[in-house]
Symmetry: none
Subunit: 107 residues, 2 copies
């Protein structure tokens, strides 16, 4: 049974399927990366905390942490302890779709 999740504004919508064979982490990581690439998330904008997103998606926080870590290494996200994780400024600027859209996504 796939997991679908859409925020109030559909800034981040993704679909995970446990029975699909592909690991949840891979599915989630790709969905998140594509959301940034497509400009559905604005540069510098806060994204959900690992706890909230995990709870909303029905997956463990560890998975979310792992994916955030990976995407941060790729430059898509920026985080520091005690503060919210944000979309990396470097990447989103270079993405054409971003400025065109000016999407608002909060937390």
């Amino acid at each position: 049974m796939p997991i679908e999740w859409t925020d109030s504004d559909p800034e981040l919508s993704l679909r995970l399927d446990r029975a699909f064979g592909e690991p949840l982490r891979v599915q989630f990581e790709r969905a998140l990366r594509q959301s940034i690439q497509a400009g559905r998330l604005e540069a510098g904008e806060r994204i959900s905390s690992t706890r909230r997103l995990a709870a909303e998606l029905g997956i463990s926080r560890g998975l979310v942490v792992d994916c955030y870590t990976q995407l941060e290494a790729e430059g898509y996200l920026s985080s520091r302890p005690g503060s919210a994780t944000r979309v990396g400024v470097g990447h989103a600027e270079h993405m054409p779709a971003v400025e065109a859209r000016a999407t608002t996504i909060r937390d």
Copy 2:
């Protein structure tokens, strides 16, 4: 091809060999126990997390967890959730092999 690993300070150095016939867990567990027995690890000192050590040794984390569990049961290590594993205070000072022998093999 043996796996060799040495920490920055060579407090823990070990050598694993997949082709040796002896299970990796046995090799690793013995190497770790001997490091403590020989006093190369100081009492109360932090040791590598299961994730880090597994990654550095190229073995699965499950194996490291199993060995840590066994050595904790023998008193060589001390751990609690959310905190780093440390060398057991009782052991690193006085002698070792006694408690180890008294312990039954688990699992």
